[in-house]
Symmetry: D2
Subunit: 455 residues, 4 copies
């Protein structure tokens, strides 16, 4: 998500702000711009570039905007453009644009109540849910109605809301999903990741705190607490693989935390080998850390084939069986005859890991030692990361030794939870807590909806 | 370039073969397929994916193919699709498809003779020149005519030629441009870079030797010498930045040679600093080598923004001045307050280097020490690398100290020619010589056409 | 609109059904298909072909479908794809797809009540309005709820509604907008125009009657009366220009009615002239009728330039002033030196008429006598035809003589209301009445919403 | 073809000029613009709109242009964009752009001679042939070389040629293909059809005469005779169906000639019937003539479905068998129970005629009497109209009675050759002769190349 208030190029900067966060969602993108009189929407399915090449920035004039990239969660049945956010809601009294990130765990229950009272919800988005809760509030101002509506929500969420007079930014009471505030000259910017600030030349100010509603308007920035602030539980997977390496979260640089995870991993699980290599792109930092700590040389043993976009023609099954590679190629010149430490950031189902181990062995690697720079993922995520069901998580159903065999590696080791905390949390305080429910089953927010379908 | 003989999926494999070599030319792409009766052409402007999404592999049936990506040299005036290779020439007697890589230095003179004798040349390509030379030969077979035609050419070249009965591959007498032969089951494959073999699961056999014409047909592979074999002079820039890190050339892995350049550079030009960073993507290998040798930590101080394709909306001048970044972003969390060693593979005009130094300083770097993992480029290339004119080469007109000042760095150093040779050439033999004319002015082939316009 | 029940190619046939009715709306198109378990939607902005080329009929499997082309009414502020119908509404209990044609005149009032009770309406479509009225009904079945909801509506409307078990078709109590039922083998088809039946080889059965709700399901067709059936008031403009000439309405062929309008016009307003010509395409029938009755030769004095689609590059103002024609060209060889009777189906603002008169005069016509094959349009339409506001209607503000002068014609005459009725209504009965409110101000349904903005 | 000299909007006007002639070729389009210093080319496959939407008129600045739409003749094997004209040929001395219409009957022989002398021809176009003939001439000026080259050609042709100083327009010695000259202010325009002049507001001046080369430059227009002027033999099929009805040829309006063909046909082959109908679009004029002469009412018994472009999804065989119509629909309300005279402009293979007769009968026509407004086509065309081989011409192999049976009509009659001449030729002089080789086998130019493959 990205938001901006008080800049004449609000729409263009939203484009660049989304661009810097493209990896957070590749299914669709949208922006709503306000010129103080009207909310103008442009959105579409596809990558940010594809959506915005038809944007017509001239028609999106305005000084405030919120923007969004859509991340398709496993199990979503309605993939249509209707669900691409921001959503705009117009009534006689007001117009609201809403976008969100995360997952509301009591969403089904709230929807049932709304439907029983005659409302029609047209998407399965949490943004539409919030809009209906706001509409049902009898409060006088949007701000009051938003606060009342937010208080009914349980789960992991960040929201950006725009009306003609204000931009609102909110984070759930545990701060599970990240949301940062920056400044660009006199303008305010808000983004899920600080990499968006770097791209547009904005400077980081602070994070939206757990349970906080930020209201930005021409009078400046105001902070309102809509909920008791709980211990911070920032999603560990943001550090492990979801965020860009150049983003900071909780003032911790993601690349640096990954490198430390590699260092910790080398301490916890050393191995005799010739080279260290990482699975591009998200495991490179950890691989370099592992190499540094272990004294082994870091080499590019696996190459990611670029230029792979929507137009890429996938090889047929026949050609794949004949050896045509897809996204990743091993580098024979590097791995042939070598004992390779292969660093990966995480294992979900294990199919990719097996694929890479095989590639390396086919290219002549003598041994492949898999080292995972995070703890084993054994439980589903209910807070917004698409981590499928328990059945699909290899570590939920197999011991490390079984996994080693399944992925055809010579050895395997995971980083410990303690090691991961060490690498991520740099100051010991309640503000620095992380959510590792998917690794430990310790869910900071109870799951209220049907647990069978976590999406 | 890519060629294949004897495989039922010749067109598809050509697509993947070009895909692996997309970095060698992004202006256009084409393929000619032979089914033994007809040469079928598909080509277009744009990236390989864009061109091939309309290919219709069903209409490109055949067991032999040659394919090409177009690299637009500075000064090319006719950018139309007509110049995208392979070119197909049909006469009553035969049909030929031709593609080439490199640059013929006596091309203008040969064209004048042809025009004076009534020929019409429709492109400025060396492939069309070769076709006319072949047509004018009175030899009985295509093979004899090709040999006679190749003997008239001076310069740096590799050619792939296809007729209904044969595929031909040729390299110039100095072997300035690379061309490798591989096998995929019983099929023969030919490619400029071996990364194409890895992608499709083919195995490397050997390189096409300087002055050699390879003829491949259903009887197998035949080698013909069309010229005295001179000392090998493989283009050093292939190692420095042009090739993919996973390719091997002269049996030397490109990533490994780059890493060794970084190691040599650290020996020759150490510096007291806190972190080493490389300009993505081509300088990462050298940066890791420098870090390993120097003992300094390698960090991701600069991030390349992906998803930048043809649809990317360039920021306006106004937004750029306000700080919107383009392709590269500095990582504040890494470089702030640090003394940074910035490794780049080479400097041509110096504008990119200055841009990156500024980015790092704006992101808070205390010092920026530029280390270039190749010698200074002081002379134009006449052999196929687009290196503009002498006027534009910063090192042709400025001392290192002047360059340091121009790019606003705290120090600068280049790798020595000797250091580069050390890093690239692994066995001392005449087969391992490299061309470093752009660094030393020692041109292995005399420049016959007007030197003013090297393109 | 088009609907089909009971055919394995429901989606494809909907495509052809819309195609035959493309002229009824060119802004967008959509289809909802039911396979008895799920409603699947495909829609988009643009012409039917453009929308359906991405349809993927394989993913739109099902035996029932309703489909729609969007006609953009003057004053619509939200042109986004969200307003393209059919709209789909999903609740826990049921899913409904709705599309409509026409205009609800008490829509604003109904919306206010809904919003006051907490509903959020996301489009300005009458289909969404109906959905909310249905949702608010406490009836047990969709059928009962639909009846109750329809009874709250005033205005001109036809609706097609699809749930998993039934297809519903409804027409307003005056039958202002047309809707016909046909059979294609055992399948039922419904369409605004019978030309859709001809294209797919279906046979006409009967029209949906005023105030009737048709329910079609696997048990067959059932008729329910939801309102007192008023005197039929089929929109006269459907005959005058809106429908295709090959459609029948009220069992009267549109081309034949137009030809009769031309014949009546020739009787009412003869003129001494050399040739009769019509403005393509909708005035050709009337022109032939006029020629037949008057004994003057019918000639192609005006040509419509085809191939004009979305990709057509409009001439700049400068080129238009220099004489570049757009959609219509005069045929000099036909009109030069001639007294021309120019037949047009109607005049709304008069700008097109003046343009054509000028074209004819520039091409050498000695005299141009304009004959309009319908009465003067003096009042806005509130029932679904985009006829702008009273201010824009030339005949609301000018006498025929003034209009003649404004459009630079040598004479002008309109068909009388009586003459038009004669031409359209073939049997005298209450079932054959037409709505001519825009010509006479006699509105069959009182206008309840704000009259200032008829859209 | 279209050409313009002396107008600042040469490229845009070429676009409109081609647009008006789109029906003459739908496979591709191109334009070459000259600014006096350079020839700039833009071309592509597809309709004029599709090609020109990417044109960038800003980059096509210049005051002279020639433009072309490609008509794909049966048997063309090379459909690539390379064959789309104009073709541009650049040599050291000069640059030429060439486009042509028609067919050279001694082309194969001329090509053989050129190839034997070392030339490479890259397309099968007559334009490239002419370019090589020009290049081989030793004349000093382009004009002299063009004249010498034209003198070597036999067949039907018109050429437009552009160099930096002149535009050339040539017609073959019999004037088989049409080419007209007009004026637009001070600028000269040239076009195959005068409809192009009407669209851009230009006025007709005169035709390019048989055997004439027109040279237009800043000094004005000059006429050169390159061949003896033979009796004029303008292609009859231009009147019968190929040209637009609003074009004039030989100062005869095409619509008017078609109407006269209908009148003659009614005189020659009357029939007792109820209605006359024509096959849209090209037979409408003749049908109106037939109706006028016969006293029967003209009605729209067949409707052409518009909006059918490249994006149209063709019905599957299964749906077609179930009755889904394609391009033409019968109008049941018009033809049911009627005896119908169906006017068609010509019959080539007879399949379309049978299709339409069936449509009419299925829609209830009691009798269908086919009347063809031209003589039977019994011989192939070697002069540029794609009329396939003799085997495919139904009238070459069947008597009228057999054809009647094959197309399932109740009666059939053709217009006589004499009747056709009567309708077309308005003044008796050698300037007004027509070519009717395809109806009579009287070829005005002997066929020199292999007669087996007329294309």
């Amino acid at each position: 998500m990205f938001g901006i208030w008080g800049h004449t190029h609000a729409a263009e900067l939203s484009y660049y702000g989304l661009h810097a966060q493209q990896h957070r969602g590749q299914e669709g993108a949208g922006v709503v711009v306000s010129d103080g009189e009207e909310l103008k929407l442009h959105k579409g399915l596809g990558l940010v570039n594809d959506v915005f090449k038809h944007a017509g920035f001239k028609e999106l004039k305005g000084t405030a905007a919120i923007a969004h990239v859509r991340y398709s969660k496993h199990g979503d049945k309605r993939r249509a453009v209707d669900s691409v956010e921001p959503l705009v809601f117009r009534t006689r009294k007001t117009s609201l644009a809403i976008s969100h990130s995360g997952n509301i765990v009591n969403g089904e229950k709230l929807r049932d109540v709304l439907e029983d009272n005659g409302s029609i919800l047209q998407t399965s988005t949490d943004s539409e849910l919030l809009a209906h809760l706001i509409k049902r509030c009898k409060e006088n101002t949007n701000e009051d109605a938003i606060i009342q509506a937010l208080q009914q929500l349980e789960g992991a969420f960040t929201f950006l809301i725009l009306d003609k007079e204000n931009m609102y930014a909110a984070a759930d009471p545990h701060g599970i999903r990240p949301l940062s505030i920056g400044k660009l000259g006199d303008a305010y910017v808000v983004a899920s990741e600080t990499s968006a600030f770097d791209l547009i030349g904005a400077t980081f100010e602070r994070e939206v705190l757990p349970g906080e509603l930020i209201v930005i308007n021409d009078q400046g920035l105001k902070s309102v607490r809509f909920a008791m602030r709980e211990q911070r539980r920032l999603c560990a997977m943001e550090y492990v693989y979801f965020s860009r390496p150049d983003s900071d979260m909780n003032q911790v640089n993601v690349h640096a935390s990954r490198k430390r995870m590699g260092i910790e991993l080398a301490k916890e699980a050393p191995v005799e080998a010739d080279v260290v290599t990482g699975v591009p792109d998200s495991s490179i930092s950890a691989a370099i850390g592992y190499a540094e700590q272990s004294g082994l040389p870091y080499e590019m043993g696996i190459i990611k084939n670029r230029y792979i976009g929507r137009t890429f023609i996938q090889p047929s099954q026949e050609l794949r069986e004949q050896g045509v590679k897809m996204k990743l190629s091993p580098v024979r010149g590097i791995v042939e005859g070598k004992r390779v430490v292969m660093i990966d950031d995480s294992i979900v189902r294990g199919t990719t890991s097996r694929h890479i181990v095989r590639l390396l062995k086919e290219a002549g690697a003598k041994e492949v030692h898999v080292r995972i720079a995070s703890p084993a993922i054994q439980d589903p995520c209910y807070y917004g990361i698409d981590m499928s069901t328990k059945e699909e998580l290899i570590a939920a159903n197999h011991s490390p030794e079984e996994i080693r065999e399944l992925i055809e590696a010579d050895s395997i080791a995971y980083l410990s939870v303690e090691g991961m905390k060490q690498a991520i949390v740099q100051e010991r305080s309640i503000h620095q807590g992380i959510c590792h429910a998917c690794m430990t089953g310790e869910y900071p927010v109870p799951i209220l909806d049907n647990r069978e379908d976590p999406s």
